[in-house]
Amino acid sequence: MTFPSDEHASELFELFFESADEILQGLNEAGLALEEHPSDTEQLRRVRRAVHTLKGDSAACGFRQLSELAHELEDVLTPELAQQNPGLIAELILTAADTFHEMLAAYRNRMQPPVGGALREHIRKLLHKPEVEPQIPASEAKFEWTEYERLMIAEAFRSGEAVYNVALHLDPQAPLPAAAFELARKALEGAGKVLAIRPEGSAPAEPVRLIEAALSSTKPADWIRKRCQVPSIVLRISVDRLPDPQPAPRDLLEILVESEAAAVSAGVKAPADAAVATEEEIHEPGASAGLAHAAENTLRVDAGRIDTVMNLVGELIIGKSMLQRAIAEFEHRYVKDPLRVKFSDALAFQSRVLGELQKSVMKIRMVPVEQLFRRFPRIVRDVARLRNKEISLEISGQSTDLDKGILDSLADPLAHLVRNAADHGIESTAERQAAGKPSRGTIRLHAYHDGDQVVIEVSDDGHGLDREKIVRRAIDRGIVTAEEAARLNESETLQLIFAPGLSTADEVTEISGRGVGLDVVKSALESLKGSVETESEPGKGTAFRLFVPLTLASIQALLFRVHGRLYAVPLAAVGEITRITNQDIHCVDGNEVFQLRDQVLALVRLDRLGTEAAAEQENRIFVIVIATAGRRFGLAVDSLMGEEELVIKALEDQLITSPLISGASILGDGTVVLILNVSAVVSHLSRIPAVGATA
């Protein structure tokens, strides 16, 4: 029987890593909770059970080091130890979460896991054990004789001999260790009658450093010591005469047996208590019942499988529009044919079901942002500790759903923003007090739906962004020229912080200064077809708003044509649609602008973005007003083609190289639509002045 098969094994590993991650998240949360309320024994029990599960699971997968470490941890997570060390327990659990995380990462990559020294250190501290174990436990003489040997010792006493416990410490450097052992043993045998000896046998497998023996002899201890001296082999000799049991009412054997019995009965107590504790564990708050119930009906599915279904649904949608077109043509051709009605009924029915299907599949991919938000309390706490600040984290809207893939890609940018806020945004306690603010800073994480988009806000009540500093840096680094800088409005200035190579933090810290700036956040969002905007008020704080689409699989889009080519923009980015004439267009610094009510907006022509060629202009043109990431601009188009739901197809990297295009879709008639990357157009726009100046 070959078992388990590779497939089963890898499936098990997947499951293991997934549930282990959940356990670690639980540890982090419990650690933070215990930091607030160290005496919460319920919480501690939960941790213990989680660690217990991790131990069993990792043993099942053969991850022995992890299993052993979890076992060690489980053993010290007792209410008694927690009570004695209220300060240490939270730290212990958080360290454990980190250590396990590292070990899991190593196992995932099939690498040797770290030893988890920090965690072991904590465990030792909790047990009040000395830092370093005594170096030579192996050479410590214990004289643990078996019952039979003890009986022989008692017999020797009875026959009037003295009995000695003799320990010979051998020189580990002695050449030919086997021969050295043999010589030492011979010397012992010459000193008296050997009643018991360790190690037993004549040819021990490993070099011997210590020989223990019980010798009976009529000679005094000194004589025995002399007999046992073997130069350059025996380093040290101890000879202890055992007390003669005869005159005493209780003999040695009796004392030995009694102390053993005492040890046994003391040992019995602990497990009995443990059993009682587990019985108490049953009384859990009923509140978790619903949750546990829900979890029981949960099915774990590989995300890839859902993607496959999603893709197929996408194909179906394309199929639907093919059908739609065919039927439209049919209707056009056979106006009076009664089949027309049947066709359109069937089509309507099919579209409805298809719509439901698509929604349901999308829902499978949806997870609450809470999954992501859960990580941040730990991050904020760690930064606050390191920087000696007081920071509280407020989370709201955590039940907002978001596509799992998008959520995963948001993890790093969000963590970056949260770290930044804690590290640089929030001032030190002293600064805050001087500014008349509460000494405890606050970071807020807020998620909400906004039409087809999800918005995640990271805000702090720190000192805000220093605009002058940003502009100075940007000029220093050659990101903008001084005159361009002078023209920038407020929100444009703030957008500068997303430029590569700009960091306003005075000191590079180990927390947020890893050489990555906010440009990483921005590019991550662009690849998600999302955007980011900033708002900051000096002295009051900073807010970052991340906009991401609900899903990456399909979008509601506005279709339009420029120069005969079909394009689309996400409907979410469309502010309004207007028509202007050539007279409405003005030129400022070589850039076209137009006035929309009381606002002056830049006018973008797709045919001019990439090339210099200017086409013949019609007198009246459509303008789509795009509003995104705090900027509004107009997009000049030749004709509008209407709204359509587009199934986004990933573009082969080489196929379309322009960053201005984020994806493509195929319509029912096979026409390819290019989807405009709005935020890339915006950033391109901010470079237009430079282009215009040089042209």
Partner: protein, 378 residues
Amino acid sequence: MSPKIRVLVVDDSALMRKLIPQILLHDSSIEVVGTAMDGLIGLRKIEELRPNVVTLDLEMPRMDGIQMLRQITGKHRVPVIVVSAHTDAGASLTLKALSLGAFDFVTKPQDAAAGRLTPIASELALKIKVAAASGAPKMIITLPSAKPKESRGFSTQPRWPSRIVAIGISTGGPNALQYLFSQLPGDFPGCLVVVQHMPEGFTEMFARRLHESSAIEVKEAQSGDLLLAGRALICPGDRHMKVRRMEHGDIAILADQPRVNGHRPSVDVLFQSVAREFGGKAVGVLMTGMGDDGADGLGALRAAGGYTIAQSPETCVVDSMPRSAIERGFVSRVVALQGLASILQAKCTPDQPPAEPVAAGSPENDSAGEGSVRRRSS
């Protein structure tokens, strides 16, 4: 084809809920009909799914295994196999579960990757089948609560036993032994040497529990331990136990030779050694358990002049061990669990040599001429 054995897996670890059904997949006579993540859901699913056997993890949130077990044995009457952690606390809980009526236990699967699941898989499958066949627990033994025992210091004159009683026992053993030992007086004249099939790490706790609930002294054997009257030595898990006569007294010796009959400790190893060293001074008892470990050893013991007893099949949780010895004709007497203590007492009491005829091969074959297995020279 007979209907499949319906199994419910109760475990709070998602991994185990996947792994256990998977390792049972290979046995076509077993079907895992459901899983549950805690005791409450488990009880509901027992109602719903009517499984033949339940595998049960003991440490779970909300309603743990012990609590659930109480409900099951009181109400649902489904045999339960405990899936136990490899720890002292796990051992203690497991023994408690057994005393509450759990059918048997296995240790949690380990090293799925290294392909070491096969033995665990077949062990679990076998135990499930036997459990399904034997049905709900027949007898839950309730014991008087342990009385604190005076620690037994012995004098320079050890109390040598009149007889060596070798016991071999497996599934159903913990409860049967606890019952038997609780019936023996503190001055029991014989010495008991016991092989209970149990993994490493469980026997020490097991011996402690027995020690607490019995008047005799019970200890996990160490090499060199003396065979004394009123004492029971339990062979540690994953070792073999033998006996040896020495100049100053008789001792137990632990050995690490390979598994015998698939077991370490093996009953046969103990019985053969007792037969060799003590022969007619020995009593062999083969008790509840699956398989046939110990049957041949009992035959050797009988051939060497020892008195051999099999626990009566109807008082066994699983009777195949004593039954195979009975079928092979190796048993002097078949005794119900309830009568075992008095038979042993009678056999070991030196003043009253049994009146059975002394004839090799006959059902009663006892040459009880002397008062003690030891002839003390002094």
